[in-house]
Subunit: 131 residues, 4 copies
């Protein structure tokens, strides 16, 4: 079942960089981040750190799904790995993540970032811990 | 020789997250990021993406030193890897990076983030390309 | 078109660990490694280094496809990232890799290792350079 | 205190690739791997997987020190990241690793591989779990 944690206020970092969750189901999450002036680097394209933030958030949430009414869980990132495949030339960064495995205390996840034209901008993987 | 690229305006992302270069010598760079409300996650500590941004920036600059008066170079991140060792409980994030190797087109770098009390918060490594 | 570089002698490392290519098409490669006694760790399961070797080889070849009769190219690994999702309890390690992006000099790839029962054992990503 | 787990038989993988522990102290470990014909790739240099194996083993042991007479612990690798800085042209691969942080269940480590002439060949980092 897809639902968004609407009643939960976004984090400060989320507001600072302007991303938002667009889908949330067991083991999956999706986020979008508009390419706003605030996230650009000197070359005029989204900073790699903005992409890393988006990937980290998407993967963490992919492993932390809570059904409506259930308490929210948080993920603690242990390691984050990002590959920067192409420069983001579009107006919207679309991230999709999924939990790929794990056990009782840790989980693994992967995520991609595409722009609105479907160009694959970055991929990420990581290990996370529930807390 | 240490010098800062003072005449060069910081990137938008840099202004958004509030970090700044504090040292720059051949193969080395240091940055600081105050723990401002804007970079916090829901747990009230700096978002892992803020640390990833700081590490990425520090490593990229470590490999791109330009002597005073020389043109600035930019680094393109190929891959970024971050290990989150401890939660940042301090007020200032201090990042130190160095170029560890590479050839004519690509370079490798490592960096650490400590808080002002010396606790090691995160480490990073990556591959970069000059452009 | 799928073909195997049959006339090309395998590397010494390939013979040492006992893996072999099973499929090779543009941007894709597959390898298999039997779970032989030689690759086990003290816990009696395949050593993480064997999985890393298999992932590295599969990804490198995924980006280096040569049509039959064309000269073989080699990939130089810049960075390799491996996530160990589950212990390999089966008898055969099956790796599938694909090139995910890149430009003229470098490419990115991802790969998975499953056992013969379909359990996802490890995932990998990396940046590579043609030479 | 430095001691080697001499009474403990090496793993099969260790015998296959020919590496051995040379130093072991709390939070630190060192291993050596001769550049034997068995670990070479088609280019005649050590396969990246051999370096990954050496780094993984060195880091895992760095976090698993046991004093003489105490029971041995094993580390489970969660994620492994390797940067390949230079081709190994020497005759001996010398790996040094150290635990960089962690808590009760997981730890982080870093390691380097140099050849006998001091050239930095590869660096690694990873997250591990005690078992």
């Amino acid at each position: 079942m897809t639902h968004l944690p609407l009643n939960d206020s976004p984090s400060a970092m989320q507001q600072t960089l302007g991303y938002r969750m667009t889908s949330w189901t067991p083991d999956h999450a999706a986020f979008e981040m508009p390419v706003s002036p605030e996230i650009l680097n000197r070359a005029g394209i989204p900073h790699g750190g903005a992409l890393a933030t988006l990937l980290d958030t998407t993967m963490g949430n992919a492993g932390c799904y809570s059904a409506p009414g259930e308490p929210l869980h948080n993920a603690l990132t242990l390691t984050l790995n990002v590959s920067y495949l192409a420069q983001a030339r579009g107006k919207l960064l679309i991230a999709k993540g999924r939990r790929t495995g794990g056990g009782r205390s840790t989980f693994f996840a992967e995520a991609t970032v595409e722009d609105e034209t479907g160009v694959l901008i970055a991929t990420g993987s990581g290990a996370f811990r529930w807390r």
